[in-house]
Structure formats: C-alpha cells, structure tokens
C-alpha cells in the first residue's frame, strides 16, 4: 500500500493564503498488488457542475470546488499515475461551461481520462465534449490493469431524439435529478457489444477497473441512481477474478459487492446529495454494506464534497476519500470478507451519529 500525503511545503508555496488550512484533505484511489512494486495510485475528481450565470459569470461555489480539487491533486506526493474526471463537468452542457471547466481541469499536472455525464451530454449529445476529451467510451491498459470507460447515461431513442422541441429543453429535462420527465440511464446495445468484444481479449485473472457516470447497479430509479441494463454489464464482468466499478453521479459515499465486482461511488466537488432513504416517498435499495458519509452541514460550503485518491493493491481498490470538513475515510477491499469495507466505521458499533440519515 502506498502512503500518500500532500506536500505541505508545495502547498504553502502555491496556495499563498494557506494559514487557514490546518488539514489538507485528499481523496485518492490506490491499486496495490501482491508485489508492492506493482502498486500504483490515481486520483478521481467528479461532478463539478460548472454553471454559467450569464456571459463570463459562473456560480462561484461550484467553481471553487473544482479549483480546490485540482490544486490539491497537483500537490500529491508521490504523484498519482493519472487522474480520472468522472463526468458532469458542466451543468447544462454549454460550450461556455465546458470550456470554463476544461480550463480549470487543464491545470492538472497529470494525464486526465474523462467520463461522460448526463449534464455534459444532453445538449448536443456529447459533440463539444468530444472535441475536448475524445471518444465517449474506450479502454486502455496500465501496469497490468485493464481500464474501461463507458458512457452510461444514454437513454431510449424516442426520449433523446423525438420528445423535446429543442436541445436545451432536452438538457433541462435531464438535468433535474428528481424530474419525473427524465428517463432511466443505460449503456445500450452498441456499447455492450463493444464491451463484450473488448473484454474477450482480456485474461480473466487481469484486474478490471470500469469507470461510468451512473452506478452500474440499481439503487433508486427516481434520481437515476440506476443503470437500466446494469445486470447485463455485471454479467460481462463476473467472469473476471477481480473487477471494480467506480462511478460518479450520486455525490456521496456508496460501496457494494456483487459477486466478483466491487462498486465504489465518488464525491462531487460541487455539492452533496441526500441518500435516497431520506426521501420519504422513495422505494430505494441502498447497498446495506455502505456506511453513509456524514450529514452535510450547509454552513460549510465545501462540506460533504471532496475528491478521492485510489490505491490499487493486487488490483483491488482502496478508496481514500478526501473530505474537507470531516475526518477522511478509507474504503478498502477486505480479502477475508470479499467485499469493500470502511477502515474505521464498518462495524455498527463504530458508527457515529452524523452517519444516521433520515
């Protein structure tokens, strides 16, 4: 396992007004291997929702979230191998928003792999996003791990192409998380065929890490904490000894284990979302394994937002959540129980009052 910390000296130097910073929260992902020299890490930033007010004016709060995550990620030592941005860079998919977000992301001193979010997609169906970040789905290999990125926010053709009078109307309808006019996310036939073909070339003992914007599991349909064809994608991943899905969209800590597949959600840099169980009318299926994040205190603008450092150990993910106004958390695969577990809070008796949501 890698021991990560932000270089304080570097931070002080570049931050200038660092006097107010007493702790330096970071969340990261580590992939560690049986042979420690194979371990590596990458950072994960997601859901920045850069929102244009008018002209060159953007919502300050969301800007600050992304600026902070980028600045802190740049100060990681040792350096992560790359950064993933998990989708929803923009709020309404506008060129101005994507450009403003891309300008901030460009300050990262690492290679960045981007995932498509619904807020990036539904204005022009990902056209401008592609000019900035390339294909909507792709795979690559890195230090013995097979990485895959999917566009999991597609939906029915009729909804996408026929229902709305304008592109902006379509975007707004999908942007409202709780909007009953929305439509369930899906990966779709074309990408699933591509995925099956892509995986057919990979040995089953190769660790797989798949990035998507929506959960490739069904938690709560009303807020699209959901992917319609989740089971079909899980089926493609189950033959592998060790697969992990990392997703954004939910703006909160979630984790789960289904067969050989571990699931981890990442924090947003913009704002946190309630757990579906807090909506009294919801029929929801939050993974029982998940120990929730602390309830957000709205008086702290960045509370319950953050970013992650991920360690890959033996191809298994240790998710290090960097939580600005809370104690940082690590959710790590436990080989004894064959599931991800929180290092501090997993046992019911070790949980704290703010983790109770109602």
């Amino acid at each position: 396992m890698c021991d990560f910390h932000i270089s304080r000296r570097g931070f002080l130097k570049s931050a200038g007004a660092a006097a107010a910073i007493s702790t330096l929260p970071v969340s990261m992902v580590e992939l560690a291997f049986a042979e420690p020299e194979k371990n590596f890490t990458f950072a994960y930033i997601s859901d920045s929702h850069i929102q244009e007010i008018e002209g060159a004016k953007f919502v300050r709060n969301w800007d600050r979230g992304l600026i902070r995550a980028v600045a802190e990620t740049n100060l990681l030592n040792p350096k992560p191998d790359f950064v993933v941005f998990g989708g929803d860079l923009a709020q309404l998919g506008k060129k101005s928003e994507l450009d403003h977000g891309a300008e901030m992301l460009a300050k990262l001193n690492y290679d960045v792999h981007c995932v498509m979010g619904e807020h990036d997609y539904y204005l022009d169906l990902g056209k401008y996003w592609s000019e900035l970040y390339g294909p909507h789905y792709y795979s690559w290999d890195h230090k013995g791990v097979h990485f895959i990125t999917l566009n999991s926010v597609l939906t029915y053709d009729e909804w996408t192409h026929e229902r709305w009078p304008t592109e902006m109307q379509r975007m707004i309808e999908m942007a409202g998380l709780d909007n009953p006019n929305g439509s369930p996310f899906m990966v779709g036939d074309k990408q699933r065929e591509w995925l099956a073909k892509d995986l057919s070339k990979v040995k089953t003992d190769t660790p797989i890490v798949l990035f998507s914007h929506s959960p490739i599991q069904k938690i709560y349909k009303g807020w699209n904490f959901w992917t319609e064809d989740a089971e079909q994608i899980q089926e493609l991943l189950q033959p592998f000894d060790n697969a992990t899905v990392i997703y954004g969209h939910v703006h909160q800590i979630q984790y789960n284990q289904i067969g050989n597949i571990s699931f981890h959600a990442v924090m947003a840099t913009a704002w946190p979302w309630p757990y579906p169980e807090t909506y009294a009318q919801a029929e929801q299926h939050m993974p029982k394994l998940t120990v929730p994040m602390n309830r957000a205190d709205p008086f702290f603008e960045r509370d319950a937002t953050g970013w992650q450092l991920i360690d890959l150990n033996s191809g298994r993910v240790a998710m290090r959540y960097n939580l600005y106004n809370n104690t940082n958390r690590t959710v790590k695969y436990n080989p004894a129980t064959n599931q991800p577990e929180d290092e501090a809070y997993q046992q019911p008796e070790s949980r704290v009052a703010p983790q109770i949501h109602y």
Binding site: V59, L177, D178, G222, W223, W271, P272, T278
Partner: protein
Amino acid sequence: MRKRTLTISVGLLAVVCALVFVNIRVSRADEFTKEDLDRWNAEYMSVVKQGRELWTSGTLGTNGVACAQCHPNGANTHPETYPKFQQQLGRVVPLRDMINWCLQNPLEGKALEANDPKMVAIEAYLSYERRGVPIDPGKH
C-alpha cells in the same frame, strides 16, 4: 319612549343574531361534503405545485441555482423536526429561517417574508414531500 324602542330593537337584533348563529351552526359548521374536501385538497395541491415550481426554478436567487439542485424532492430538509435548535444559528428557529438562509447563501438572493405566498408555497411543498413522517420537533 325612545329608550323603550331602542331596547326592543336591540332585543330583536339579538334574537335575529342568535337565530342566524344557531342556523349556521346547525346547517353548516360540521357538515362538509366530499366535494368540499376535494376542493380544499385541490386548493392545497395548487399551492404545493407552485412550491415545486419555485423549488426547481433557478429564479429564486440571483445565480441561477435552484433549491432542488441540493435537495431533490425536498429531501434532507426535515420539515417535521422544526422548530428546533439550529446549532449554526445558536437559537431555535422555524424551517423558514433555514429556507431563507439557503436563499441568501447558496442562491445568493434575498430572504422572503414569512407571509410571502412564495414562502407559504415552499413550506407547503416541503411538507407534502415529507407526508407520512411523524412530527418530531427538535430532532437532529
């Protein structure tokens, strides 16, 4: 003479008032029909609908941010727990004080008066989304 007429008039008026009052009580006060209930509910739901529109609209504040961006379906607002001690404000407050706090801070807008129809609509919407949950004032 004049005094007597006045006394009779007042007496008659009192009798008429009493009759009217009794009449209303007997024929109206505890009688309402399914049509009445439907109408009252429709009135309430029309205000809930206005509240939902305000909740999801980017026009309440000045920066285009909508309440629903952080609180889908009004979740995590806990209307059943107010009034309660709001530790960040250091006093017991009604829910509307927290609504106004959000209007002024994340939405960068202005507070609403307690009797502003917009505030009433937002409160009606939040309570509606929380229907079925027992009231639990003071809960954290």
